[in-house]
Symmetry: C2
Subunit: 243 residues, 2 copies
């Protein structure tokens, strides 16, 4: 069955209006009145709908049933990444969305080689959100992860520690593994933080420890800044019973 | 300490000759006679060496100690991927090497959209091996994973099942998780197989099951063909105690 992603604003009075690309896509599929489709609000709900009316630019459908999406992860994993170069950030957003991240949070740290300026940030944020949207759609998710930009490392630490568990991965950590950090604990939300290309400074790692994050290793091999968050997220999804 | 990757052939009679890029790199580092360096043979051994002689194009070093590399994973994980498009294959080779794959095996399957022809294969294989070499070096591995090309899906199945465990990930599998497949079993080698962009055909999955592979899910979200093998590899590394 065809599945469409809409904005929650498009859902009103038991009806949903497909517009723009969605309407075009519906026409390519040659949807007919009466036909059933699924519509996802990107916020965790799916709607089984029947096509009502097709006109030039829109398709109006009526909601038959509202269902909680079955494709969201049980654990809310927030991916905290210190700004890498733009193409890597986009890569992380796409892959972390596929892998089931609840949200993706980017923040600056001392050794960031790339930090978008205020001016270009709005435009970029829009682009990043679109990448998440498209990856959520393709991977069959029920929710589009939000892409958040924080102004400082301190703010990132503060926010990350609000989850049930908060972990910073650091290549110089040797003894504490992610497995140790997850063992014998239950959590429904977790923050997974990683550094930029040049790594985090030792004082930043101490700052994180003081803020309440656990410092863990991702193994003896040095992972690139775009590999580490996806490796950690895959492991957490596995550990929390997703696959 | 500087670390160099050489071919095992360059190691003879207690001495190693650094040539080409290695020699250039040594000169950039301004190595001096007597200085200590580490040399890795890419086969799992590191050599602590002292610089002997520096001439125009080569650096001769003598071996002080041969040590087993500490950075290799305890479990030998072989990544079996059905040919994706070229850029994705290169991405998988780079990332799987970082993540600790023992070897990477590419093979054709029914729905492959991209399959290198015989003619270009040698050139490509050389390029792929170089990518693995460079990723191994950067991530501090002691071994360069071999990139193998198999001529058929049947050959891939046959080879994959020679490991202690062999798993095929299939998006239509719902009940058997990787966790179930790994539980209560010890293994020192594992094959992780995934399909191409268009997925594997149902009959190919049956063929794999008959050959002895376990069929598992990677969760309810559909992963792209370049995401699935890296997600599986990350989870296996986590499950086998690497981090």
């Amino acid at each position: 069955m065809a599945r469409f992603f809409v904005s929650p604003d498009d859902i009103q009075n038991g009806e949903i209006l497909l517009t723009g690309e969605n309407a075009q896509h519906g026409k390519v599929l040659r949807l007919q009145p009466g036909e059933l489709i699924d519509v996802c609000d990107g916020m965790g709900y799916d709607y089984r709908c029947a096509v009502q009316e097709i006109d030039n630019k829109t398709i109006r459908v009526s909601i038959l049933e509202k269902m909680e999406s079955q494709n969201e992860a049980a654990v809310r994993a927030s991916v905290y990444i210190s700004f890498p170069k733009a193409d890597k950030l986009e890569h992380i957003i796409q892959k972390a969305t596929e892998l089931g991240a609840y949200e993706i949070v980017a923040f600056p740290s001392a050794r960031c080689v790339s930090r978008p300026d205020e001016k270009s940030l709005n435009k970029k944020a829009e682009r990043w959100q679109k990448i998440a949207h498209s990856a959520a759609e393709q991977s069959g998710r029920g929710r589009v992860p939000q892409i958040l930009i924080l102004p400082s490392y301190a703010k990132a630490l503060e926010r990350a520690t609000k989850a049930d568990k908060a972990i910073l991965f650091y290549e110089a950590e040797r003894s504490v593994t992610l497995k140790m950090a997850l063992e014998n604990s239950t959590f429904s939300s977790i923050s997974l933080m990683t550094g930029p290309e040049g790594g985090l400074e030792a004082r930043e790692v101490e700052q994180a420890r003081e803020a309440g994050l656990e410092i863990c290793t991702l193994g003896r091999r040095i992972l690139r800044c775009e590999t580490a968050p996806l490796c950690a997220l895959s492991a957490v999804m596995f550990a929390s019973g997703e696959f």
